[in-house]
């Protein structure tokens, strides 16, 4: 038996997050970027929601053709910017992190995927720090579907794939989403308003454009996974001690 490890994370954040007054956005529509800091939302004042609100997470989406399937997660658009409902984001994020923590507790292989070149190094370093795997490069077609032939027989596929951006550089859905669905691999995906969330198991509506947002998510996932692994090690030690105790007593 193991405790659900992740009602953990969100309430335990003690980082002094700076309110980002200025930030570097990529893209020509930078000029229209406005920090939507205070919105009159009816939210219960948990630490998290305030802190998320204070960050420019609801950044404008540069290609404002919002996917039809994302409409439940959006309030709407204002001044060509799609505003995401952060209540739903919090819920989705919580369940996604919970799931990730359970997966990490069981010692499974987690793969971080992102095709955004701006955050490639960040994602790879996050993966390295967690002790998990990353793929921020050109996705070879048969990676998941043709794995035994590409890597050798007996290769183990990832048990969870975390997409930090479900789009590739041509603004189409990443091949990994479809392939993971084919191979029955659960996915956690950060879906922006122009993404299609239907194939993602645990979609997390949110912005994937700004560095601050990406760093936040990377930090959250890293913390979750590290805590889950620590918990696992603790439990194993306890079990080991209890087994030793049993044997010595008997």
């Amino acid at each position: 038996n193991f405790m659900p490890v992740c009602s953990l994370g969100l309430c335990g954040l003690h980082h002094p997050w700076l309110v980002a007054a200025g930030y570097s956005c990529s893209g020509p529509l930078c000029a229209t970027a406005v920090a939507v800091k205070t919105l009159p939302l009816q939210t219960d004042s948990t630490n998290v929601t305030d802190k998320i609100l204070n960050l420019p997470l609801e950044m404008p989406d540069f290609f404002r053709c919002a996917d039809r399937l994302m409409e439940p997660y959006l309030f709407g658009s204002r001044l060509d910017q799609d505003i995401i409902d952060l209540d739903q984001t919090v819920e989705h994020l919580q369940s996604a992190l919970n799931f990730t923590a359970h997966i990490a507790y069981r010692g499974s292989v987690i793969l971080f995927v992102s095709r955004r070149r701006q955050f490639g190094h960040l994602v790879e370093s996050t993966a390295q720090d967690c002790g998990e795997y990353a793929h921020t490069r050109y996705w070879q077609g048969g990676l998941l579907t043709n794995a035994p032939i590409q890597y050798g027989p007996g290769v183990r596929l990832p048990d969870l794939i975390v997409f930090f951006s479900t789009l590739n550089n041509v603004f189409q859905q990443h091949v990994g989403v479809r392939d993971a669905a084919k191979m029955n691999i659960p996915t956690v995906g950060l879906v922006d308003s122009n993404c299609n969330p239907s194939l993602v198991t645990y979609p997390v509506p949110g912005n994937d454009d700004t560095p601050a947002a990406m760093e936040l998510y990377c930090r959250l996932f890293k913390m979750t996974i590290n805590r889950a692994k620590d918990k696992r090690r603790q439990m194993e030690l306890l079990q080991g001690r209890s087994a030793v105790g049993l044997t010595t007593s008997s």
Binding site: L111, Q128, Y133, R137
Partner: protein, 360 residues
């Protein structure tokens, strides 16, 4: 492939040794069967196209077994040749194989070969994941983990060294890389060098550079000789196609050239040939300084001129400084021209010319 040749010889010797040992104990029938069975097996292995083998073709135990067989075979070979097995080098092995298995073939790769398995079998990647299935490298799922992790290093003098070639990089990483990847790698390394404080990462950078061999130091320059009047002279010889020529170069002369006893103007009526003779002297600016006595034979007039040119350049080396030798080498004056007449092929009129094609 070379691998097949080597395996036969090595395994053949190993079997030889086995047969010698087992002669008294095992019945001759069995031995013959064993021999024939093993030879059949090796023939089967021959037929398998090793070049089309996928990854992980040779497991670790296989390579280990090959190494043992090679060592035992080496000792048997030494015994056969009457040499000491302890001090039997690779050169001795090559000579013994050439003696025992004389081959009239021209292609070096087609001749029988006995080399250490590490040189024969391509380097394979070890299994990339542990007992629980988790891969070791965090970029394993990209397919090119070593290549992509190259730039993840939290990261002199470059003169006289060059970047690794694509083949060398592939050998280092034990992965296949496309040309795009290689170009990107070079681009990133150059970018790294262009940043300030790149000297901090010099060790990392040096790992991916190779020293250029200084070609000019390979030139053997004969010391000057002096005749009874104290005049310096030197000799040189050169070859081109089937012509060979020798030159005696004498210092403090007036630029007279005699070939086979006759004046060079009479010997080479064509201007082009005389220009070939002049070129080394003109290049170094010593046209009127030397007297030359040349002798040449074989070939036609053009190849004789080329042979003499090479001979003159080589003779001149003793009179020149290091830097001038290097300039001569870079000008191509010291490189023997390797072109020879291409052989005629059957079914064709000449080396390249085909018979007239008739439509009907």
């Amino acid at each position: 492939m070379a691998a097949s040749g080597g395996r036969t010889v090595g395994s053949f010797l190993w079997k030889c040794g086995n047969c010698c040992f087992n002669f008294n104990t095992v019945s001759s029938n069995l031995t013959r069967q064993v021999l024939s069975r093993q030879l059949c097996v090796s023939a089967v292995l021959h037929r398998k196209n090793l070049a089309a083998a996928g990854p992980e073709k040779f497991s670790e135990e296989f390579i280990k077994k090959q190494v043992e067989e090679f060592n035992i075979g080496k000792r048997h070979l030494a015994n056969m040749m009457g040499e000491d097995p302890e001090t039997f080098t690779q050169g001795d092995i090559n000579r013994s194989i050439a003696y025992l298995f004389p081959s009239g073939l021209f292609d070096k790769k087609a001749k029988p070969l006995m080399k250490h398995p590490d040189e024969v079998f391509p380097k394979q990647r070890a299994v990339q994941w542990g007992a629980d299935g988790r891969p070791f490298h965090f970029l394993f799922y990209t397919g090119k983990q070593s290549y992509y992790s190259l730039m993840h290093v939290s990261t002199g003098s470059l003169v006289g060294s060059r970047w690794l070639l694509k083949e060398e990089l592939e050998e280092l990483l034990v992965e296949t890389i496309s040309e795009h990847d290689y170009a990107r790698f070079i681009q990133l390394m150059e970018r790294l060098l262009s940043l300030p404080y790149c000297s901090v990462e010099e060790d990392f950078v040096q790992r991916y550079r190779r020293q250029l061999e200084i070609q000019s130091s390979k030139q053997q320059v004969q010391p000057l000789q002096y005749d009874q009047h104290g005049v310096a002279y030197s000799t040189g010889d050169g070859r081109r196609k089937t012509a060979t020529g020798t030159v005696l170069l004498r210092d403090s002369g007036s630029g007279s050239i005699s070939i086979n006893g006759t004046n060079y103007v009479h010997y080479f009526p064509v201007l082009q040939d005389r220009e070939q003779l002049m070129f080394p002297l003109h290049f170094m600016g010593v046209l009127g300084r030397f007297d030359m006595q040349c002798s040449v034979s074989g070939g036609g007039h053009s190849s004789q001129a080329g042979a003499l040119r090479l001979a003159i350049s080589r003779a001149m080396l003793s009179f020149l400084s290091e830097g001038q030798v290097e300039t001569m080498r870079q000008a191509g004056l010291l490189t023997p021209d390797p072109r020879i007449k291409e052989r005629k092929k059957p079914g064709q009129e000449g080396a390249r010319r085909k018979f007239t094609w008739k439509k009907r």
